[in-house]
Each structure stands twice: as structure tokens, then as C-alpha cells.
């Protein structure tokens, strides 16, 4: 089983965030911040616990950091509350969990249930992360000419060199394909 807290910090740090642990009475959250966003992440045992406690936790964390947030100016608008759990949620619970995200009051909420791997964590934290995939299409494997020449070599070896050479008349290629003029 993945240590979700550790994974959280690794993913966030990889994304350029500073992370630190935040103790809140008997709870332990993870604080994170970069140039434009900041927030807290908390790992619940299960969805039921999340649904019960998320609002209280959000309030307590904001209250706790109120002095700093008051100095943050516009950045205060970019506070995230991340609520995750490793246990799978029921369908009904998932619907309620989504409602947490769609609650746009105070902080931007990110939720995730049934997270068991780093990639699950990445998926859950996508709103906070830079783009994960940057397609590279520069590979030589995508060279159509070479690919097509290989294909033509299998179809008509004699015409391989001439088929794609625009200097050679199509009728000459046809001759190379075996047809007499």
C-alpha cells in the first residue's frame, strides 16, 4: 500500500511546490505552496470520514493560517484544500464527494478516493500540477517517406526508388511495376 502522504508530497514537490507537514491538534495535514497557489492536503481513512469532517478541517486550517493569509493578498484566492483517502467509495459516497469539489466557497477543493498509487495521486492532484504529458512527435519513426519506401519495397522492389521520385514520370514507374508501354 502506498503511503499516501508521502506520495502527496513527492508529487507536489515534483510539480514545484514546497511542502511541509502541518499539525492541527490530533491531525496531521500537508501544507504546500508555489508562486501562484497554496493549500493543504489531508488524507482520510475513508470516504465516510472525509464526508463528515472535510468542512470542519477546512475551517480549522484556514483559521489556523488566517494571519498569513491576510498578508497574501490576491494569492488568498488560490487556496486549495485537498481531501484524499485510500479506501474506495461507494457510488453514493462518490457523488457526495464530487459535491465537495463543486462547493466553490472559501477554498478550491480537490478530492480523491481509492487512491493506491502515485499515478492515482497524480490524477487526483491534476488541477494543481503542470501538464503531465508533452507529446514528442519528432521521432524518426514518424518519417512517412521512409515508412512508405519500406512498404513499396515489399510491394514492388523494382519500383521502390522511382515510386516517390517526382522527377520520374508515373508511366516509367508503371513500367518498373511490370507493365509494358
Amino acid at each position: 500500500m502506498t503511503d499516501l502522504k508521502s506520495s502527496l508530497q513527492v508529487v507536489l514537490q515534483d510539480a514545484g511546490y514546497q511542502t511541509w507537514l502541518v499539525s492541527l491538534d490530533d491531525l496531521e495535514a500537508i501544507g504546500f505552496e508555489d508562486d501562484a497557489a497554496m493549500g493543504f492536503a489531508y488524507v482520510f481513512e475513508d470516504a465516510a470520514s472525509m464526508l463528515t469532517r472535510w468542512r470542519d478541517l477546512e475551517t480549522r486550517l484556514l483559521t489556523r493560517h488566517a494571519p498569513s493569509l491576510q498578508r497574501a493578498g490576491e494569492k488568498t484566492w488560490n487556496i486549495y484544500s485537498v481531501f484524499l483517502c485510500t479506501e474506495l467509495a461507494t457510488t453514493d459516497q462518490l457523488r457526495e464527494v464530487r459535491w465537495i469539489e463543486e462547493d466553490l466557497e472559501r477554498t478550491r477543493k480537490i478530492t480523491g478516493c481509492g487512491l493506491t498509487s502515485n499515478s492515482d495521486v497524480v490524477t487526483a492532484l491534476l488541477p494543481l500540477l503542470p501538464l503531465q504529458y508533452q507529446p514528442s512527435l519528432d521521432s524518426e519513426d514518424f518519417d512517412l517517406t521512409q515508412r512508405l519506401l519500406k512498404r513499396i519495397a515489399n510491394i514492388a522492389p523494382a519500383a521502390t526508388d522511382a515510386a516517390l521520385d517526382s522527377e520520374i514520370l508515373p508511366s516509367e514507374v508503371v513500367r518498373l511495376l511490370g507493365a509494358e508501354q
Binding site: Q18, S68, E101, Q132, Q134, F142, T145, R151, L177
Partner: protein, 681 residues
């Protein structure tokens, strides 16, 4: 390469010269409807492509797009132009200007040269460049999820196909066309040789039928040698000469037969002149002619005598008449002094009277003699005339005999000449012999004609041989042409495979490229979360050449499963993935025109976060939104940084009706480490 400024005057809703200086980070445009937010993006589109790609209808009553590119409101603009500036990472600038009067100062190839990767073997069009750079409200749904599968594929190909390489489809299509032309040509040749072969096969059947009549050729040759020994020795020549000779001999035969018939027709006449009776009859005519001649001579002599007697009587009659007149006159005078008034002799009255009476009596006797002489003359003339008629008749009859005989002899002479001319060994007056000889000639001619038929049959054998040789040649040629046709068909098949390969390989590469891009699309889809239940999107390529792109969520087609807003969100994921996957594009600006219509606040926030992630790739993001609150969210989230700051333009309509910048604020970087110090404290 990023946008550095946009300046315009007299363009769309901007009457007065307006300049937007654009920082490298992000630009948020806000304002009510019609204040010019979209116009800034239209200006960029127009400068690069020469049109505005958001109107499905370009022509309409009241004026089309072209009539509404430039300011049409109140007041006269100072100028009509659009100018956009770019700046590269190395600080080099590039400006495109397009004015109403002068058009564009930079041609599309140069624009593409500046804004795309020059290493690529092929480049997209300026239209594709703009279509994948500027994501418009009008196009979000229309160009993404709601597209037909093939059109969606084409959109992807246009966006990420730049790396694929040259489009060989025209080349391979030309090869296929040439192969088909060659095939058609060979096909025509095969048909031609087959037609030739069929025709010759028909001819050989006919020739064989004729050749079956060729038995007895030796006998025919012997016969020809006997009857026509002078003919040439070669079979073909002999046949030709024989055919000609038979034709000539037919004419001769007809000539001889005609001559013989003319003798035959005169058979009675010939017989007559050859008979003793005819000799006797002719002799009698001759004798009668001579007798008539003599009789005629005698009659003429008698007539001459009668004429003389009559003349003498007539001369005497004249004297007597004078005398009678004198007597009558003397009688009338009577004696004159006893003297006769006629002779003055002294006469008595009696003597005088007696003398007058005696003289008148003598004169009366002379008249009888004159009448007798005239009657004799008339009889002599009649006899002479009768002798003349008899003589003429006799002469005519004899001459007729002579004429008939000469005519018969003349005909015989002519016939003989005809016989002699044709070498016909017969006497003209021997019609029977001539007929016998002609019968023989006719029979010989028939035999020669039959011999000719045999010889011609022999020629048919030669013709059969010739035709059979030709059939062999034609079959060989047909086989060769068929082989060429097979080769041409194989060439067509190979050309078809090459043509299909040109298309499928391109599409396969595109598929692979899209598979490479797909994780990004999936990520963007997850980020935008269009639908609560369907968190993942899948894609596959279909069609014969894999020319269509299908999307599915949980095995369903999102096109029909999602709401309007959800489709737009999913469409945004697609369009953004396309935008981010352009290997050929060196212009690193994302332009979005009102991307949040129909999207709820939650999904709008998701979009903002996606744009934030895109900003983190170093791209310039330009977004136009109507909602000021959303504009503020964007300004807070899009990450202003030193060197890549943000700016918020607020637009409005002035009192004079032109769009204008009412205000703008630079968005500065946010304070760092806000929470961490709190932890430390």
C-alpha cells in the same frame, strides 16, 4: 515566438487607432458583449489569414463578411488596418500588417516561415495555423466533439500531421492512373487481337469448306494442258490466266455463235441461190429482161415512125388549111371581071364554081389522113410505154435476184472473216459444221471452267494454310498481349497497393502520433471533467484507411451522451490537446475566445486550471471572457512571472460608438511563501 502587440484602426468595432501591448505571460480581455474582446482575436486571425474564421456564412443579403471587416459605424476612421507584432525568444521582432488599401505586407509563406518549424518537410496552411491557435466559442463544439468522425480525423491530421512528411497521395494517384491507362491500353490490344483471331477463324472455316472441293486437281491440270497449253506453269498464275482466258473465250464464243446464227437465219436464202430452180428462175428473168429490151427497142422505132408520119400529115394539114381558107376566101370573092380572084385566070362562073368545089373535096380527104396518122401515133406511144414497163419490171426482178445474192455473199464473207479472226476452223456457209464446232468449243469451255473451279479450290488450300499460319501468329500475339495485360493488371494492383499505402501509412503514422498525443488528451479530459460519471475518454481510429477518429466514454459516444456544456468541455480537451501537440508550430500563444459559454462555474474553474497548466509550459495565453469575475480568477491563476507577466484589458464602447480600452491592469507576480512562514511561526 509570442505576440507582442496588436494595433488596429477602422477594423470591425474599433474605429479609432487602438494598440494592445501584450506581455509574454497572459492577457485577459473582459467586457460586455460588443466591446471588442473577440475583435482583438479577429484582428490576429485577419492579419494572418486575410479573413475571420468564425462565420459559416460568408455572403449574405445586406453584405457579407468582406463588407463588414472594416468599420461600418458612424464617423470616419483615420485609417483601416490591422497590425500584429511578434517577438521571438531572442528578441527578434516580426510584424504583419494588413490594410484595406494595400492588403497584406507579408505573404503566407513568409508568415509560415516565421511561425512554424522550418525543419519540417511540409507545412500546414496559415488557416490550419490559426485554427489550432485560436479556439473560438463558435468552434469549440463545432470543430471537436460534434464533428463527423472523418472531419475530426482531418482536423487532427491538419494539426499534428506536419511531421508526417510530404503528401504522396497525388503522386501515387498519378501512378495508379498511369497504371490504369496502361492496363486499358493492353486490354484494348487483347480485344483487338481477339477480334482479329475471331475474324480469321471465320475466314479459315470458309476457306476449308472451299478447299474440300479440291479433289481431282491433277486431272484438271491435264485438261488445262490439253485445252489451254499456253497457260503459265505456276498454279496461281495458271489459275489467274485460265480465269481470264475463259472469260475471253466466252466472249469469242458469243461472237462466233452470233455469226453462226446470222448464217443460220439466212439458211433459206442460201439454199435458194444454191438450187437449180433458182438458177433457172434467174436465167428466165435475165432472158425476159433481154426480150423486153428488144421489144422496147422495136416499140421505140415504131413510135419514131408514127411520129414522123404524124408530123408529115400535120405539115400537109397546114397547107390544106391555108388552101381551104383561100378557097373559102376566093369563093367568097367570086370571079373578078371574069377572072379568078385566086389565080387571075379567066374563068367562067361555072368553071370557077366547079374548080372551087373540086378543090374543097380534095382538102376534105386530107383530114381523114391526118386523123389516121394521129391515131397511129397514139398506138405507137402506148406500145412503147408498155414495152418500157415490161422492161423495167424485168430489170427490177433480175436486179432483185442480183441484190439478194450479193447480200448473202456479203454476210457469208463477214461471217467468214469473223470465223477467220477467231481462228474458227469452219466455212461460213456451212452452218451445221460451225454449230458442231461451237458445241465442241462450249463443252471445252465448260470443262475448263470446272478445271478452274478445281484450281481455285486448290488456292483455297493455300488460303487455309495462310490463314492457319496467321491464326498461329495471332494466338501467339494474343498470348503475348494477354501476358502483357496480366502484367499491367499486376502493375495496377501494385500501384493500387502503393496508393493505398501512401494513404494508410500516412494515417497509420498519424494514428501513432495521435496515440502519442492521446495521453495528453486524456489528461486534459480528466482535468476538465466534463461528466461526473465518465472520468476517462478513449479513442480509436476507424475506416478503411483508418481515416476517422472516434471518441468513447465508458463504451458510449459522448456526442450523444453529454449535455451541451459537457460536450464543450470535452471538445476543449480535444482542441487543447491538438494545440499542444503541434510539432510544427513555433508560435507559442494560445488564443481563446469566450471558452466558458454554457460551462458551469465548477468546469470553468477546471478550465482555468488547465490554462494555468498550459501557462506553466511557457506559452502565452490570451483569453477573452465576458464575466469580470472570471477574468479576475484568470488573472489570479494564470501565473504572472517576471518576464512573463500578465495584463488585464477591460473594454467598453465609447460614447461615439467605437470599441476602446477602458482600462488595463498589469498582473504582478504573487507573494511567495505565504503559508510556510506561518508554519514556522
Amino acid at each position: 515566438m509570442k505576440l507582442q502587440f496588436v494595433e488596429m484602426a477602422g477594423f470591425r468595432g474599433f474605429r479609432d487607432k487602438t494598440r494592445f501591448d501584450l506581455p509574454g505571460g497572459f492577457i485577459v480581455l473582459s467586457g460586455r458583449n460588443g466591446t471588442g474582446k473577440s475583435t482583438l482575436l479577429d484582428a490576429i486571425d485577419f492579419a494572418i489569414t486575410g479573413t475571420i474564421n468564425k462565420f459559416s456564412v460568408k455572403e449574405a443579403r445586406g453584405g457579407g463578411l468582406d463588407e463588414h471587416i472594416w468599420w461600418v459605424g458612424e464617423g470616419k476612421p483615420e485609417a483601416h488596418y490591422v497590425s500584429i507584432g511578434f517577438i521571438a525568444d531572442d528578441g527578434k521582432q516580426f510584424v504583419i500588417s494588413r490594410s484595406r488599401e494595400r492588403g497584406c505586407d507579408t505573404q503566407p509563406p513568409e508568415i509560415l516561415n516565421r511561425l512554424t518549424n522550418s525543419k519540417l518537410t511540409s507545412r500546414p496552411s496559415v488557416e490550419t495555423l490559426m485554427q489550432t491557435t485560436l479556439i473560438r466559442d463558435e468552434l469549440i463544439a463545432g470543430l471537436s466533439l460534434d464533428l463527423p468522425e472523418q472531419a475530426r480525423f482531418a482536423a487532427v491530421r491538419a494539426a499534428i500531421g506536419g511531421m508526417v512528411g510530404p503528401d504522396y497521395s497525388a503522386r501515387t494517384e498519378a501512378i495508379l492512373a498511369a497504371a490504369n491507362t496502361a492496363k486499358t491500353r493492353h486490354n484494348d490490344r487483347v480485344k483487338e487481337t481477339q477480334n482479329d483471331l475471331g475474324r480469321v477463324l471465320g475466314e479459315v472455316t470458309e476457306a476449308r469448306s472451299n478447299a474440300e472441293k479440291s479433289a481431282g486437281i491433277s486431272e484438271a491440270l491435264r485438261l488445262i494442258e490439253t485445252l489451254a497449253p499456253s497457260l503459265p506453269s505456276g498454279l496461281v498464275e495458271k489459275t489467274d490466266a485460265l480465269r481470264k482466258m475463259i472469260a475471253e473465250r466466252r466472249l469469242v464464243l458469243r461472237d462466233l455463235e452470233s455469226a453462226r446464227l446470222s448464217v443460220e437465219e439466212r439458211h433459206a436464202e442460201l439454199t435458194f441461190f444454191d438450187s437449180p430452180e433458182s438458177q433457172q428462175e434467174i436465167e428466165l428473168a435475165r432472158v425476159a429482161q433481154e426480150a423486153a429490151l428488144r421489144e422496147k427497142s422495136q416499140a421505140d422505132e415504131r413510135l419514131a415512125l408514127a411520129v414522123r408520119l404524124d408530123a408529115a400529115e400535120r405539115a400537109t394539114d397546114e397547107y390544106a388549111t391555108h388552101m381551104a381558107a383561100i378557097l373559102e376566101h376566093g369563093a367568097a370573092l367570086g370571079l373578078h371581071d371574069g377572072h379568078c380572084p385566086l389565080c387571075n385566070a379567066a374563068r367562067t362562073d361555072k368553071e370557077f364554081g366547079d374548080a372551087i368545089a373540086a378543090a374543097q373535096e380534095r382538102l376534105a380527104d386530107h383530114g381523114v389522113k391526118l386523123a389516121n396518122a394521129a391515131e397511129a401515133l397514139a398506138r405507137a406511144r402506148s406500145a412503147a410505154a408498155e414495152a418500157e414497163r415490161i422492161l423495167t419490171s424485168a430489170q427490177s426482178r433480175y436486179a432483185a435476184f442480183q441484190s439478194r445474192r450479193e447480200a448473202v455473199q456479203q454476210k457469208l464473207k463477214e461471217v467468214q472473216e469473223t470465223y477467220d479472226h477467231h481462228g474458227f476452223q469452219a466455212s461460213a456457209n456451212d452452218a451445221k459444221l460451225a454449230q458442231t464446232l461451237l458445241f465442241t468449243e462450249r463443252e471445252n469451255l465448260v470443262r475448263l471452267e470446272r478445271a478452274l473451279s478445281v484450281l481455285e479450290a486448290s488456292n483455297a488450300i493455300d488460303r487455309v494454310k495462310t490463314l492457319e499460319a496467321r491464326i498461329i501468329t495471332l494466338r501467339e500475339r494474343n498470348d503475348q498481349e494477354a501476358a502483357k495485360l496480366v502484367a499491367a493488371e499486376k502493375a495496377v494492383e501494385a500501384a493500387r497497393q502503393i496508393d493505398a499505402s501512401a494513404k494508410t501509412v500516412a494515417n497509420q503514422i498519424l494514428t501513432e502520433q495521435f496515440d502519442t498525443v492521446m495521453p495528453l488528451l486524456k489528461e486534459l479530459y480528466r482535468r476538465l471533467r466534463p461528466h461526473a460519471n465518465w472520468a476517462e475518454i478513449e479513442s480509436d481510429f476507424g475506416g478503411k484507411v483508418r481515416g476517422s477518429l472516434n471518441f468513447t466514454v465508458g463504451g458510449h459516444n459522448p456526442q450523444f451522451l453529454f449535455s451541451s456544456g459537457q460536450r464543450r468541455a470535452a471538445g476543449l480537451a480535444f482542441l487543447l490537446a491538438v494545440h499542444l501537440s503541434r510539432p510544427w508550430c513555433s508560435w507559442r500563444s494560445l488564443l481563446m475566445d469566450d471558452p466558458v459559454q454554457h460551462i458551469d462555474d465548477y468546469r470553468a474553474l477546471n478550465l482555468v486550471e488547465v490554462l494555468t497548466a498550459i501557462r506553466r509550459t511557457g506559452r502565452q495565453v490570451i483569453v477573452a471572457v465576458e464575466d469580470v469575475a472570471l477574468a479576475n480568477v484568470l488573472c489570479r491563476r494564470l501565473r504572472s512571472a517576471s518576464g512573463d507577466s500578465g495584463r488585464h484589458f477591460q473594454l467598453r464602447t465609447s460614447k461615439t460608438g467605437t470599441a476602446e480600452i477602458s482600462d488595463f491592469q498589469d498582473v504582478y507576480p504573487m507573494p511567495r511563501l505565504v503559508l510556510r512562514p506561518a508554519q514556522a511561526s
